[in-house]
Amino acid sequence: MSTATTTTKWWNGGKSPFNVEYGKAMMWYFLMSDAFTFGAFLISYGTIRFSTNGWPDPNVVFQSYPFKSETSGPAPLVFVSIMTFILIISSVTMVQAVKAGHEMKKNKVVMNLIWTIIGGAAFLGCQAWEWNHLHHEGAWWGHNPFLNSDLTQSSTNFTNYFFTITGFHGFHVFSGVVINIIMLIMTLNNSFEKRGHYLMIEKAGLYWHFVDLVWVFVFTCFYLI
């Protein structure tokens, strides 16, 4: 076996052609399929929005935050920015957990996994609040109380897409939190110490970063543009 990677025959068998373990390659393939699903949702949202004459102004619809007083003016983008930063920071702690796994530092893995779980749970709480708030204003699948930005009658496409896509993403965040909790329990039980590697944490990390990445796209499409 030559040591220079340029002459290594990757497809001759006996080794992974991507030079990653099987589980990691399969996680990448799964994430690609999930990316297609989310991409299809978001692109269909864009197509419907482009095919309609009017659309609600997100800065009018999404302008509240928890414990906001009735008398203060609208605060668009505030709450969703907080949600975005929470998810980004939880991604950073996940990177730290994976790094600590490479260095076989169990306690550091545990600490960073805990922070990631807290971040994910906080994001879910925020999203739940947003849903509840909008629902109290009359929004739901099939019900759109908001007018278009040009004050014409809006369609239920707006709320249907919002709840479906953020709901599908929230479901991914939830499953990611569950997976991370399982990772935490396995770490505490020394499963990875016994195996001699923390590769499972790396795969869970890939899933978690994917969840963060999808939020970057959802947040841009629904709230910003």
Binding site: M1, L151, D212
Partner: protein, 146 residues
């Protein structure tokens, strides 16, 4: 579980890489938010608004590059794996452009050939909080939404 051998290639990882990428992502997000705020003052349908939206989309793609490349470690993987992910995603760009163009064309066709569709976009409803705005022709009182 591991039937195939994985060759360990030494890559020197910058100790500050995580910190730097985090800072870059935070700055990009803040720029996006500033642009979002700035866009609120721009008139609907203006070129300034469109240019800002395109800039925000570009920033979003740059963020995606940093998350996938550094947080998901793809930049340090073999070229094969990078291509497996990158090529379908680039095809996505075609997907996006084609469907947005399609949606836009659908709207133009409907406006041209469906008078009811076009008329719907001229009837203004009275908003509950602000002072009512009226259009001279086609002003109708709509029944409440349930």
């Amino acid at each position: 579980m591991e039937h195939s051998e994985v060759i360990h290639i030494e890559h020197h990882q910058n100790k500050n890489e995580v910190r730097n990428v985090t800072i870059i992502l935070s700055i990009l997000t803040i720029i996006e938010l500033v642009l979002g705020f700035w866009m609120m003052d721009m008139k609907e349908g203006s070129t300034a608004r469109l240019a800002t939206k395109i800039t925000i989309i570009v920033l979003m793609l740059v963020k995606a590059y940093y998350i996938v490349g550094y947080f998901m470690h793809l930049k340090h993987e073999l070229r094969n794996l990078i291509m497996t992910v990158a090529v379908p995603m680039l095809l996505f760009v075609w997907f996006i452009i084609a469907f947005l163009y399609d949606g836009n064309s659908f709207r133009n066709l409907r406006n041209n050939y469906d008078p009811h569709f076009k008329e719907q976009s001229t009837i203004k409803k009275t908003p509950t909080e602000h002072k009512p705005e009226h259009k001279e022709s086609g002003h109708e009182e709509k029944k409440e939404m349930h």
